[in-house]
Assembly symmetry: C2
């Protein structure tokens, strides 16, 4: 217990200031479910009243889906050394279908546990891992298919609704609830999400709940196209840079800004120990690519990988609590030559590891040939598959080609197998795709993979903007999300160039929150427009603080405003720096409203709307006399 | 001649360093047209060779459309005090249809010229303004409709092609020329743009060439959906901040990063003098909203505006050389009440000025009632209309509503009138529109406005991200560009919050270059993918410098790379910071290629592709034996 915990103790103090402070005018609330230990956190943003000519109008609080976990709750004591509270422990235990193990059952897990040289790196309060009792299946899909609504499903229903039912019954929200008709994809978005709807989507395989029984700290969430579009962030050390503390801090930072899940893609030192620290402090599901760690175990030589080694890695990680595994089981030997004439070959790390192995051994991908055995592991811990797209395009030129789509068809075949085991599946997608070919990717995925949730990296819609690839990919992400992708894997400004720092992570996340929200609006997710409407109303009424507070990044919005108009008095000024105090279009609009009221708006408007088409000429003749006549 | 010129003299020195340095490995070339004074500038980016196992492969230079004017050409002496070279003066003079005036004919222009208090602010080398001879029409549309190909049209044809014909004849480009099929909008994109095609698009009104006869310094460019998608940037002082020097520097900065046109939206002091400095140094077309300046002349009181005052402002600006005017002639009295129940009323400055005037006088918009007289002014100088959308939505909630679309129909009516005068027209569009309703905007514009070029502000696809609205709007911009918008007006991160600084301008421009290029790719603009292909090839081959140099922002790409791997040796390293030197997917791909070559790729691939559908089962049985059998 030396160096690292001490570093964490310091880091904890830092988190209080930078990462754990609540957002302005926000507080954490909890919506109570059907049992005392089912309390769903949300963020409540309070607003200032509007002082209008006709008196004061109260602006109601706005409720936001909150991924930040307890970190933004000042009433919670954060202790990274102890880890988060065991939120789901009782739910898992009372199902009575799992049993605690004496310790890790993987050879590697035991070796790491027994190595005294790692004592100073190790998370202190490790929990004994659990596993399904022999022959039992503990996946959320298995419960759903037997008609069971788990506490996780109820939690998710409450979480996804974000109090929509109460808001609909409250007249203060009537105007804010107005929303454009969306273009829903798939089975259709319900007006209210019930626990039974969650269950049915899980049972059908159209959604997944990544929730390993060994990650009881997580706040359950769902990935499916009939729910809010989610985003994933990536962190991970490499052999060149980064430490455990940095990775844990990035995880908390990611959750703060809105990351729904997080992948630990570490390829450097102490992967096992880093993951333990992350999992014990993570309120969001954690995914990994186990083959990355397996490769480290054979000193980076893909040809030396064996099924036994990789299997041990799966068990090692499952017993730590990883919620989903990216598994490149669709990179088949016969597909590899299809990539040879590509402009950018194989760019997926997992894909190229497997390709190298297949070529070296002249054998079929062992993840494919052992897929049923992998399913047995997955269902003993409820780890979800994220079937990797190892042959995804690395450039616009290679998009939607034979290699990519051949693999996608195989992922569909594997989905069928996984579902026979009631193991949850999502499907990974590209990558680099020009805008006009984005929709084709979703359509084909839904067809080939039987509507299993699609989880895409961007895609980038052009290759020419390194240093801005959060944006090139955010364009693709918004579009692919609209057409039915359930989760968007973020890209930071450093993509293709280097490892992201904290500000890059923030920029990547906010860009993807934009893309996901644009997709929610486009699909017509009920209630999605409330936040836009509230923010626009605040903007129009010069409630500057409310405009900042309702935004995706209140801190930066305020900072940017302050760069031009730093004084507090400007936060209540009825003008902004674009036009200056002398003239303001929004102010003039108030005159329009007064005028319209004075001239019996409804009569005028009805007459005009009826006459708009037929009577255009007549109106034109009347011209300036119109209002006098009313 | 005191304060300002001295400041400029200093500023010029600064520009040399920050703004005028050429991009790395780039040089300005000129493609010769049919006459000696028709030389079209482009940027040539040279590439390093590829050192492969099979020997050295030369990588040919890549040619880029270049908006930066002479500023990035070290062989040109830049002198902001003297202004740019008079590129088009001879072309205009030899048409023999214009005459030099004794001086400004607007009352305001004369007053400013004669005011000694402005001597220290005034651009020194003013040219005498020109005007069409009495009764003559000097618009590019007028020439086109008479079958004339002007030097401007030839210039544009050469510029838009970016040497595509030569590249097609050169075997070194064969692979780089491969491109996805696009989804073209409208009349269809030609394989090669000829001067005659330019002429015909102008004649049909589907494109415009903004090129005032009093702005001979500009490098001609075209705005139309069968050409490269363009972007506009906005600058302008306000009564709160900014000076003349800052605005001129922003103009050069904007051109450097890729702004195709620029609007000077100044509302503060010395609007007339600021504009003169900008125009004399601008290689790109300049647009304005003349009503902004007119409003300043009546101390910000819209109700005091008169047709006579605004008319004088049009002439004042036309004689300075403004290339297009935003004119809100579609804000009709009868449409104003349609905005009263909006969430965010009227947010266009021009729109609200006109609305206020109409309400104050109970009269029809004087820009509408005097529209034919405006056409007479426009055609005497070849100023193009940018018909303003004064009733554009200021929030997602107000998108595509009755007010917006009523105005759009009126803009169609005005387009017909302008075209009767052979005056060029583009149509401005929103604003804030959710993703699923973006295409409807273009479709309606093309239908109502007879395919006149559409010029949109974003649109923002959500309201919830102030401080990131370059991104929210970049998503909308890429989509609306794909569907047929000809020019995208940029949005900076400071939108809704404050005035952009230089870095904000750069971020906004690069975001819009991404959107415009994504739209070009999506439409299938011939040759558009060359740059993506070349950059991706460089990336795949670890030619780091070439990857940076071919990117939209070479400086930032290099800077981001250096943050992780600062050493020069890393620029030639066959790995990147994401995976480290130990393992690299791109390296493995080379093994795949070697393997495929060794195993007679073509035979394998042909067999596999033919069999992919029908023979999937057979292949699966053969499995690992496949390659042994070949």
């Amino acid at each position: 217990m030396s160096a690292i915990p001490a570093a964490f103790a310091q880091r904890t103090a830092q988190l209080s200031d930078e990462v754990t402070r609540p957002f302005p005018s926000s507080r954490k609330i909890h919506v109570q479910g059907s049992r005392p230990d089912l309390r769903v956190p949300m963020r409540e943003v309070t607003q200032a009243p509007t002082d209008g000519r006709t008196g004061r109008e109260e602006n109601p609080p706005i409720y936001l889906y909150d991924t930040s976990g307890p970190y933004t709750d000042p009433t919670t004591q954060i202790d990274l050394l102890a880890g988060l509270q065991d939120l789901r422990g009782a739910w898992i235990a009372e199902r009575g279908d799992t049993e605690p193990l004496a310790g890790p059952t993987s050879a590697y897990g035991r070796a790491r546990q027994d190595d005294p040289a790692l004592d100073h790196l190790r998370f202190a309060h490790r929990r004994t891992p659990r596993r399904a009792r022999a022959g039992v299946n503990v996946t959320q899909m298995h419960y759903a298919r037997r008609g069971i609504v788990t506490p996780e499903m109820e939690y998710i229903a409450i979480r996804e609704n974000v109090r929509l039912t109460e808001l609909r019954a409250d007249p203060r929200y009537a105007r804010l609830l107005r929303q454009h008709r969306g273009e829903p994809c798939g089975a259709g978005l319900p007006e209210v999400i019930t626990p039974e709807f969650v269950r049915d989507e899980i049972a059908a395989g159209r959604a997944i709940i990544p929730a390993n029984i060994n990650h009881p700290e997580l706040e359950p969430m769902i990935i499916g196209r009939n729910f809010r579009v989610k985003i994933n962030t990536n962190i991970g050390n490499s052999s060149l840079t980064s430490s455990i503390e940095e990775e844990v801090e990035k995880m908390v930072w990611s959750a703060r800004w809105g990351g729904d899940t997080l992948m630990d893609l570490s390829t450097g030192k102490h992967i096992h120990e880093t993951r333990e620290w992350i999992l014990r402090n993570a309120p969001v599901p954690i995914g990994t690519v186990p083959i990355y760690q397996a490769l480290e175990k054979v000193d980076g030589r893909p040809e030396e990988l064996t099924w036994e080694l990789v299997r041990d890695t799966f068990i090692e990680q499952a017993e730590q609590g990883v919620d989903y595994f990216t598994i490149h089981a669709g990179v088949l030997l016969r597909y590899i030559p299809l990539t040879a004439e590509r402009l950018t070959g194989i760019v997926s790390r997992g894909g190229s590891i497997l390709a190298k192995w297949c070529l070296a051994h002249h054998q079929e991908n062992f993840l494919y040939t052992h897929f049923e055995e992998i399913c047995e592991i997955m269902k003993a811990y409820d780890v979800a598959f994220s079937l990797g797209d190892g042959l995804r395009p690395g450039s616009i030129a290679d998009a939607n080609d034979a290699a990519q789509f051949a693999e996608l068809e195989t992922l569909g075949e594997l989905t069928r197998i996984a579902w026979r085991h009631d193991v949850q599946v999502m499907i990974e997608g590209p990558g680099h795709v020009p805008l006009q070919r984005v929709k084709e990717n979703v359509d084909k995925e839904l067809a080939d993979c039987l509507e299993a949730p699609f989880y895409t990296l961007g895609p980038l819609v052009t290759d020419i903007a390194p240093a801005y690839d959060h944006i090139t990919s955010g364009i693709g992400a918004a579009n692919i999300g609209w057409h039915g992708t359930a989760m968007l894997c973020y890209v930071t400004p450093k993509e293709h160039l280097g490892l992201p720092n904290k500000q890059d992570v923030r920029d990547g996340i906010i860009t993807y929150k934009i893309a996901a929200h644009a997709a929610d609006l486009a699909k017509g997710l009920p209630g999605a427009q409330i936040r836009d409407n509230a923010l626009s109303k605040a903007r129009f009424e010069f409630r500057w603080d409310d405009q900042f507070n309702l935004s995706l990044d209140p801190e930066r919005a305020r900072e940017y405003h302050d760069q031009t108009l730093p004084h507090d008095s400007h936060k209540v000024a009825h003008f902004c720096s674009m036009c200056g105090p002398h003239f303001c279009s929004m102010k003039i609009t108030q005159d329009v409203r007064d005028y319209a009221e004075a001239h019996r708006l409804d009569d005028v408007r009805t007459a005009i709307e009826q006459g708009l088409k037929e009577k255009a000429d007549e109106f034109r003749r009347e011209g300036a006399e119109l209002y006098k006549a009313v």
